[in-house]
Each structure stands twice: as C-alpha cells, then as structure tokens.
C-alpha cells in the first residue's frame, strides 16, 4: 500500500476548509417585496426579484381584487377583500392579472 504523499495533506485541508466555509457561510437571504394594489393598479406594475424571494400583495382599494397568473395554470390568490394581504414565493417569471378586473395587469420578473 502506498503512503499518502505529505504534500497532499495541506491541499486536502484547504479543500475541506473551502467546502465547510461554503456550506456554513450565511446564504443570501430571500427578500420580501411589496406590491400595493391601489387605484385599480398593481404598484409596481413590473417587479424584478430573485428566485425564492417573497412578494406580498396588499389590497389598499375598497373593492375586492385577486392576483391570477395569466396562463391560468400556475397560481392564483384567493379573493382579497379591502385590506387583505397575500404572499407568493417567486419561482419563475410570470404575467398576472386581476380576475375581477381583467384590465388590471402586472408582471413578476425572476432574475
């Protein structure tokens, strides 16, 4: 059996440290963004986020709205009465609209 070459040890330790530091350093924490629904508009209308960020929709109007992904196949909020909030974790870029007022449109862009 071959003996370990002495120069391999520091390299191995170095790689081990690199691995551990990568694993234990704090990950970039997901942000929480707010989309305000007011005066029949989503503000901001286009929101750029990172994968895994949270988006909180807040209805500041007196009428009920919702947030519906445009293809109709991905996600949809429940009815959001005046003052209600709803959170979504951004996984991919999506266009959305309000199913009560289909002229209200917005977009989430995942970088």
């Amino acid at each position: 059996m071959k003996r370990l070459k002495p120069w391999l040890l520091p390299t191995g330790l170095y790689l081990l440290c690199l691995f551990l530091s990568g694993a234990t350093s704090p990950p970039v924490s997901p942000k929480v963004h707010t989309v305000e629904i007011s005066r029949m508009q989503f503000n901001p209308q286009v929101l750029v986020v990172s994968m895994g960020d949270t988006i909180e929709f807040v209805n500041k109007d007196m009428v009920t709205h919702d947030v519906t992904e445009s293809s109709g196949k991905s996600w949809k909020s429940p009815a959001l009465a005046s003052g209600a909030k709803w959170r979504l974790v951004a996984r991919k870029t999506a266009d959305y609209y309000c199913s009560y007022h289909p002229v209200m449109k917005g977009k989430i862009e995942v970088k």
């Binding site: 029949m40 289909p102 002229v103 209200m104």
Partner: protein, 182 residues
Amino acid sequence: MKIRKSISASAIGLLFGSFMLLSPAVAQDNPTLSDAEVAHTAVTANQIDIDYAKIAQERSKDAEVLKFAETMASDHKAVIDQAVALVTKLGVTPEVNAVSKQLLSDAEKTKEMLRTKTGAAFNKAYIDNEVAYHKAVIAAVEGLLIPESENAELKSLLESIVPALQAHLEHAQMVQKDLNGK
C-alpha cells in the same frame, strides 16, 4: 325652481354625453347640490348598476357577461357601503333630488328594455348599456358630484371611485368586443 330645473336638464344632458355643452349652470362655481344630495345621487348611481347586474344574473348564460356582472354587483356595493359609512359618520342624511330622480327614472326605462331581451340580444344590450352608463357616471362624478361636494372626505371618497369606474368601463368595452366576435 330655476336651479332645480337646470340640474335636471344637466342630468339628462350628461346621460347623453353632452354634459359639458348643456350645463352652463353647473359650470358656475355656486353649488347647486348639497352634500346630502351629492351623497344620495352617488348611492343611487351605484345602486342602479347593481340592479342592472341582477338582471344580467337572471337572464344571461354567458360566462364572461356573468363574471362582469358579479364584479359590478360586488364593487358598487363596496362603494355604497363606504358612502353609507361616511354619511353616518358625518351625520348627513342622503336627500333625494332632481339628479337622483332623473337617474332613477332613466334606469327604470333601461331595466324595462333589458327585461324584453334574451340570449345574445340581451348580452349585447346589457353590455352596451354598461359602456354608456359608466361613461355617463364618470362624467357626472367628475363634472358634477366632485365639484359640488363641500365636505373634504366626501370629495375624496368620490375621487377614489373614479379609477374603479374607469376600470369597469374598460372591462365592459373588452366584453363588448368579445361579444361582437361571437
């Protein structure tokens, strides 16, 4: 009674889309509607659209028309609830007046007309009326009710409903376009 008469003429004028041309009395800055009358007119205008929505829910089978009617019923009720909460807080009792009376009598004729129609003809008549009615109400809120409001909270409530009326108008025009393609 001269003032009353001119308000009534304005109400008719605005419903035919020539509000600004036919209403020199309203363009003047002396108020012709009290806040109690503004409140009554606003509640009446919203209630009328709820009534139209109920007729649509009884007579239409078109999913898009029904969804639109549901939004009208729900949104205009939310506006009425806010208006009632405000006048209650202000201690104002909404007062019937020439403009709200005119709105009601015009609405009676429209409801009668809608009840004679079925199927595609009903859908078209309902949506065409929604387009015209929202245009007239936007003109009345911006050109009459907001300038006539003295109380700041009443004025601000009326200002806050304009974007919803505008969205309803665009939504009605969208449904109108879809119906024309069917």
